[in-house]
């Protein structure tokens, strides 16, 4: 079925959008719907899909939010490769038909919307937070201390902290494609992000990933880094973590110096008084 909006200007450039349709709740199988959508040089795939929703078929299900590659919601397989729809311009794809499919390796909920529960579970299993020995989460909330970190210390993990959890790496990874227990590039790269952080003192990080389905199921196919829209380079973090596990790189991390500061409440109260 090809749907097009006849009210549009005849001279406008149009792209054929082939969209995967499936409703898990109805269990009625899957098919593709094709839409002809007008586009300009700057139109993104997400713009085109929203055009379809507004003027052609409001039932097309997509997930999106920021439209500027910051939230990581609109990941989908575009012409066979996982991409962010908001970050992919139609004019740059240089094809006459654009195929939009749900992200592979994520269970389908409806149309282009997939279930991220397993992906987030793997992320959580990596303890994705600073674990400092002498300070609890409550201390951090009170804000009674601060850490010294040099710019060099920050550079060791900063790139990995740019991860927006969009799931593109997870859907590009060949191991994830068959192994549901493999944490995937996103989670493993986050393990390295905290391992390399001088504020973190956890001694368990390497043990968490040293599992039958852990870090060693990564064979450096590099597809995760290839598709990452934020330059996180998960493959780099994973290989660097392996070198510590093999005992080649020595963990000579000097813990970040902690300094006592006035608590946030006190600072707030004293500034409120002066006003």
């Amino acid at each position: 079925m090809i749907m097009s909006n006849t009210a549009e200007n005849k001279n406008e450039k149009k792209i054929r959008l082939k969209v995967y349709r499936e409703n898990r709740g109805q269990d009625s199988g899957s098919h593709y719907d094709t839409f002809e959508v007008p586009y300009k040089k700057w139109t993104t795939v997400l713009d085109a899909l929203l055009y379809v929703k507004s003027y052609m078929d409001p039932s097309v299900a997509i997930r999106y939010s920021c439209r500027m590659a910051s939230c990581g919601s609109c990941g989908m397989k575009i012409n066979g490769i996982p991409k962010l729809a908001c970050y992919t311009k139609i004019s740059e794809l240089e094809t006459s038909t654009i195929e939009c499919e749900p992200l592979p390796n994520f269970p389908i909920i409806r149309d282009l919307v997939t279930d991220f529960s397993r992906f987030f579970d793997h992320h959580k299993s990596m303890h994705p937070y600073i674990e400092a020995k002498e300070s609890s989460v409550d201390d951090t909330r009170k804000g009674t201390f601060s850490f010294y970190q040099s710019p060099e210390d920050v550079d060791k993990y900063l790139q990995f902290s740019y991860c927006i959890k969009c799931g593109l790496c997870y859907s590009a990874c060949p191991t994830v494609g068959t192994d549901v227990n493999f944490p995937g590039p996103q989670a493993l790269a986050q393990q390295y992000r905290y391992f390399a952080d001088t504020r973190d003192e956890s001694a368990k990080r390497l043990d968490i990933v040293d599992d039958r389905h852990g870090i060693w199921r990564c064979h450096f196919a590099g597809s995760c880094s290839k598709v990452c829209p934020k330059g996180v380079d998960p493959a780099l973090g994973i290989q660097l973590l392996k070198s510590y596990m093999l005992g080649i790189s020595k963990n000579d991390k000097v813990p970040a110096k902690k300094i006592e500061v006035e608590s946030i409440d006190n600072r707030y109260n004293s500034s409120a008084k002066t006003e």
């Binding site: 192994d179 968490i208 040293d210 039958r212 389905h213 852990g214 060693w216 199921r217 596990m245």
Partner: protein
Amino acid sequence: MASRTILKESQIMKIHYITGIAAIFVVALHIMMRLVVPFEQSLEYDYIIANYKNIVYVLILEAILVLISVHGFNGIRIILLELRQSRAWENMVTVVTISAMIGLIAYGTRTIILANGL
């Protein structure tokens, strides 16, 4: 997540990498020792029996047998573990690959010992 195993996965992978590198060297030796004579001659019965009586050659063959069996069957184990996930499958994969590895080493060693005695 972690299951109880005799060796940690990182230790198994260390063995995998070491056996891989060592295998390259011994296989290279094996091929070079064959290349000192023309290819057809290297396959003659008497020539090979003489090889099996040479203790250096025998040690190289045994090393190849052990190194490649360990490396190869661990590789198969890795591939099979990535294919399906369930306790029964994983236990089966471990048992089958280790048995096949031991079986192949035993069978190859039998050839070496018997050929050495011919």
